[in-house]
């Protein structure tokens, strides 16, 4: 099972209208090279699930600026003024989700769960229109699981089997998104031989990864 592919092939898997997840937190731990290639490719009408829309000139933010996203599901857009502008002009749908809820929704999508029961957001605009469940006297929102057609993640060290190790704060949403898409592509800062990673330091088992592309 050869998983290592070219950037050209990687990008060919993302098609107009797809829902994609992209790892990273304010551009830290984002697969920057794949994002750049997506901009080059011109793929459009994307729904992007990510922590945030980064900055106008970095990472996911570039896909907002280029107009390739029709919808974003994120926890934060404050660092990218273009996201707010396009939203106000009706050119971009923005769904804002509390960060921990977003993390659990993605994890649920990957773990075969129907959704998340969380008290976070009760009594705020986040709760509007959502099912409320009372369990043992406490109120919870039902936040549905999220999945994507493709997840684009970043790994610091990736072996030939797709096992991923994340350095420092680059981990964030990457291991969660790696579980929650029909196809997962990891941009590897470094590709190492199978066996080079200590099995205790594998943060994402290779079985989740379909393709590996060198950064």
């Amino acid at each position: 099972m050869k998983k290592i592919i070219t950037m050209e092939e990687a990008v060919s898997h993302i098609k107009d209208g797809m829902t994609i997840m992209i790892g990273g937190f304010l551009a830290c731990g984002t697969p920057h090279k794949i994002v750049d290639a997506l901009i080059e490719s011109g793929v459009k009408d994307l729904t992007i699930i990510a922590n945030d829309t980064s900055f106008v000139d970095r990472g996911i933010g570039k896909l907002v600026v280029s107009g390739q996203a029709k919808r974003v599901i994120v926890s934060h857009i404050g660092t990218n003024k273009e996201t707010g502008r396009l939203m106000n002009e009706g050119k971009l749908e923005v769904e804002l989700v509390p960060q921990g809820t977003l993390a659990e929704q993605v994890r649920s999508g990957g773990a075969g769960l129907g959704g998340v029961l969380t008290p976070i957001g009760v009594g705020t605009p986040v709760a509007e229109g959502k099912d409320h469940l009372i369990i043992d006297g406490k109120t919870y929102l039902l936040e549905k699981a999220l999945r994507a057609d493709v997840a684009l993640i970043y790994g610091s060290k990736v072996d030939e089997k797709g096992n991923v190790y994340y350095n420092e704060a680059t981990r964030n949403f990457n291991p969660l998104m790696a579980m929650a898409a029909d196809a997962v592509i990891v941009e590897a800062q470094e590709i190492v031989k199978t066996g080079a990673l200590d099995p205790h330091m594998v943060h994402t088992p290779g079985l989740f990864i379909k393709y590996v592309v060198k950064a």
Binding site: M1, G109, G112, T194, P199, V202, P205, L207, F208
Partner: protein, 215 residues
């Protein structure tokens, strides 16, 4: 060839290169011995790792590296260790290509019972319900009868492990696929006639137009 070997050999042909597989305790653990050359499968052990390898030599036994039956094993290069939540996210999230399990009873709807006999034996389900519910392909591998008692039924009468989840039943007598029409006998062991197989099977066997010998 003894009965167990016949079954394990046939099960071993079910996999494609790169498949991620969980093998139940007992007979299914024999399967890796018969995987054809050129096919590499990744074994998942639900107590928390992928890349399970063969048993260690006697002087290399490590009681912190055991399979889900508590038996010492090894790991191969490219392995990864994780906790029970991740292990079952793999199982329940649809990331296992196949699981191979034994059964007390299985029926023509694909129902499976293997975790309790009321008033008699209640070992518990362990991870069996998760495996049956989550794996893409559920293969029941067992002797066709248990000391003469029929196990392949029209309807299971023991409490179910999973409802309508079994894909295929492999015994020493033949291979049966679960289809919307019922059980289709696709392969048979030439030591037996189709009539002899039907005789020890409560479910009506639909004989495939393309019936082949399994050995």
């Amino acid at each position: 060839m003894d009965v167990k070997e016949i079954i394990a050999r046939r099960v071993a042909k079910e996999f494609s290169d790169g498949d991620v597989v969980n093998l139940g305790i007992g007979l299914p653990t024999l399967v890796p011995n018969y995987i054809p050359e050129g096919v590499e499968i990744i074994l998942h052990s639900e107590n928390g790792f992928t890349g399970m390898g063969p048993a260690p030599s006697e002087d290399n036994i490590d009681m912190e590296l055991v399979n889900a039956g508590g038996i010492p094993v090894t790991v191969i290069p490219g392995a990864s260790f994780f906790d029970s939540a991740m292990s079952f996210a793999i199982i329940r999230g649809g990331h296992l290509d196949a699981t191979v399990l034994g059964a007390l009873q299985v029926d023509e709807e694909g129902n499976l019972a293997n975790w309790m006999i009321p008033g008699k034996l209640v070992p518990g389900m362990g991870g069996a319900m998760d495996l049956v519910g989550g794996a893409k392909k559920v293969i029941v591998a067992m002797t066709h009868t248990a000391k003469g008692e029929i196990k392949i039924l029209k309807r299971c009468n023991l409490p179910l492990t999973g409802a309508k989840k079994v894909s295929k039943i492999i015994t020493e007598m033949g291979v049966m696929e679960v289809t919307p029409k019922g059980l289709v006998l696709t392969e048979y062991n030439p030591e037996y006639t189709v009539e002899q197989i039907q005789e020890v099977t409560d479910a009506k066997l639909i004989v495939s137009d393309d019936l082949k010998p399994m050995i």
